[in-house]
């Protein structure tokens, strides 16, 4: 197990470092600036979709969905960060406890 952990961690670090060693002048074009603005929005949105609606490789409707909806409502009400996260966990836990969704 240790070799797996160390090799995977080394690969993860190498990927993180890769973005910093790309020559800066490659980034100094209008299109590169647009892409760098879009990267976090696009990738985080993709992760939100996967972590809300997908379990493994199956699209599912489970208690995470009402939880994330609660987070969305909290954001619309301009709630602070921690309130957003706690409302998601609380609603998901409640829906599970009531047995409405798995």
């Amino acid at each position: 197990m240790w070799p797996t952990i160390l090799i995977a961690s080394g690969a993860a670090y190498a990927l993180k470092l890769l973005g910093y060693v790309v020559p800066q002048r490659m980034l100094d074009t209008p299109i590169a600036r647009r892409v760098t603005l879009l990267i976090p929005i696009a990738l985080l949105s993709a992760l939100i979709g996967l972590w809300t609606f997908v379990d493994g490789t199956t699209i599912t409707l489970d208690a995470r969905v009402p939880g994330v909806l609660a987070a969305l409502i909290a954001l619309l009400l301009r709630a602070p960060f921690l309130v957003v996260i706690i409302s998601a966990a609380a609603v998901t836990a409640l829906v599970r406890a009531l047995g409405w969704l798995p």
């Binding site: 797996t4 952990i5 973005g19 603005l37 990267i39 976090p40 929005i41 949105s45 490789t57 960060f81």
Partner: protein, 225 residues
């Protein structure tokens, strides 16, 4: 001054949110057959939540070491793009650059991206978020790994909804125009649509690429708010 305080408050809140989520990582890692030390090593060294979860998911399902490494690496590929986006903002040199690389995760990049108009705030957001999460993510992992026998199923507490909620909170303030909202919707929808057909890691990258292409077509401009 107010902005500084707001950034530090949000960084702490994100740390607490992911710290709670890390408890479920520690518990699930031990349930997958890792020792508490091995779970802790992943949080200290790998320090990128989605890849850590991907690795223990493969181990738990009896997959080989090669598949576990390949899956976690593929899931972590987006960090290279985050580094690419953060390099001009941070302008880190020497040992700071090595540290910045380790600190490059979804949350630190997402927080920095909220202050695109103000480089000093973006840097503070990046480092404060990474520091807060590093400490609390590792503390949460420790609690989860040691208490694994006590928590039967961490998802009972809805912890699996904490991560998507935190990411939503990060992206939300950035969606200030319709082209940017379209990018988010296309990325989210295509990731879900691709998930049944591709192995872990690929849907994120392809859906992210689709969203970026949509953003370029719709003419999203840097500095647009």
């Amino acid at each position: 001054m107010d902005r500084r305080r707001a950034i530090l408050g949000d960084a702490l809140a994100l740390g607490l949110g992911t710290g709670v989520y890390a408890i479920s990582f520690g518990a699930l890692a031990v349930a997958a057959g890792l020792s508490a030390w091995q779970a802790q090593a992943l949080s200290l060294l790998m320090f990128t939540g989605a890849s850590q979860f991907a690795l223990i998911a493969v181990v738990a399902s009896g997959g080989s070491a090669a598949v576990a490494i390949a899956t976690s690496t593929l899931v972590g590929t987006r960090n290279a793009f985050y580094g690419f986006a953060m390099a001009p903002v941070l302008q880190a040199r020497g040992p700071w650059r090595l540290l910045a690389a380790q600190a490059t995760i979804d949350e630190s990049t997402g927080m920095a991206a909220r202050y695109e108009d103000d480089r000093a705030s973006a840097r503070l957001a990046f480092w404060a978020t990474a520091g807060s999460i590093y400490v609390l993510w590792n503390l949460g992992t420790l609690i989860g790994a040691l208490g694994a026998g006590l928590i039967e199923d961490p998802n009972v507490y809805g912890l699996d909804a904490a991560a998507p909620a935190a990411f939503l909170a990060l992206v939300w303030p950035r969606l200030t125009s319709w082209p940017l909202r379209a990018v988010a919707i296309v990325s989210l929808g295509s990731a879900v649509a691709l998930a049944p057909f591709l192995s872990a890691g690929l849907p994120v990258l392809l859906a992210g690429a689709a969203g970026i292409v949509v953003g370029l077509i719709l003419g999203v401009r840097a500095g647009e708010d």
